[in-house]
Symmetry: C2
């Protein structure tokens, strides 16, 4: 997605050769118009899939997922990192290993919002090791719903998450795939 | 806002006489079209204020804030509950006391995204004790920005947060004010 890549080039900040900060428009400050364009792009790529639900994980997946849900005219569901005190009844759970925070945590959604008739599009802002996507896939499987695919705003192509998902047969659509962040340079695949 | 009140009546679930669950359309599963309408409503109420930034708190404020930002054509900024490992540089911080979770935690935003030239609209999904709003106001004051007001989707009018904010001279716009949840009945003010 050209607009996104331009924005990454323009506003992305590199920290070493591994971290790309895009918190000026994606995951801290958010550019609503860019989110709307991203939503349209995902909707266009997945429009034949008869999606019934968009699934993401709090917090930085929510903005993107909302715009996709708006375009596809389906509800958006976000998995929670802590079980809310008001989340009663049965839940579907997935495990996520965070490498940056060096911990494993559960994510969960209320079971009543996902079932075997659903066809789910998973959306997230970043794909690196693929742990969040794997946790969300666990939830989809737990609910016996169908998985239409995974839509990612920025994939770090030099980390193994995307390759692993595709090896599992999952359709992964990434709007920008970073090939390398070395030599203080953002290179797209 | 009529559409919202109807939705609350239809889909809201009462737990005792204090908790209203709206996680089927607002803070777990999200209804994107309703969010778009809510965004328009807030934009209309605050359109004379020359807002430069919409400020909210992760996670359930993000969807609403995004639609407001889209309508007003300004960036959205969400305060984080934990300082991210990649949040470098100076931050503005506010304190939030959570009564449901019985803890006090810091919320923060990167200082570079808020300054004295900003006119800020604070958006959140719920207002009860007003702690999240107060924490966000602290951040606005810390940044020496101007506060245009606070926009709330659902205010629990029988709890003191809204009254306290208005006493401080803050303009509070709530799209639905709940007067009582007693007798297994949702009554609006």
């Amino acid at each position: 997605m050209k607009l996104l890549k331009e924005k990454i080039k323009e506003d992305g900040k590199l920290i070493g050769s591994n971290i790309l900060k895009v918190d000026s428009f994606l995951n801290h400050q958010i550019d609503p118009k860019l989110m709307a364009e991203i939503g349209k792009e995902f909707a266009q790529r997945f429009h034949k899939e008869e999606i019934t639900k968009v699934l993401t994980i709090e917090a930085s997946g929510i903005a993107v997922a909302l715009m996709v849900g708006l375009e596809l005219d389906v509800p958006v569901l976000f998995a929670k990192k802590k079980k809310a005190s008001t989340m009663d009844g049965r839940v579907y759970t997935g495990k996520v290993e965070s490498f940056t925070k060096n911990q494993v945590y559960d994510i969960s959604v209320a079971a009543k919002y996902l079932n075997e008739d659903d066809k789910v599009l998973i959306i997230d802002d970043f794909l690196a090791m693929g742990q969040a996507s794997q946790g969300l896939i666990e939830i989809v499987e737990d609910a016996q719903a169908k998985l239409a695919g995974v839509g990612i705003v920025i994939e770090k192509g030099f980390q193994p998450g995307g390759k692993q998902l595709r090896k599992q047969g999952v359709r992964v659509e990434s709007l920008a795939i970073i090939e390398s962040l070395e030599d203080n340079q953002i290179s797209f695949a």
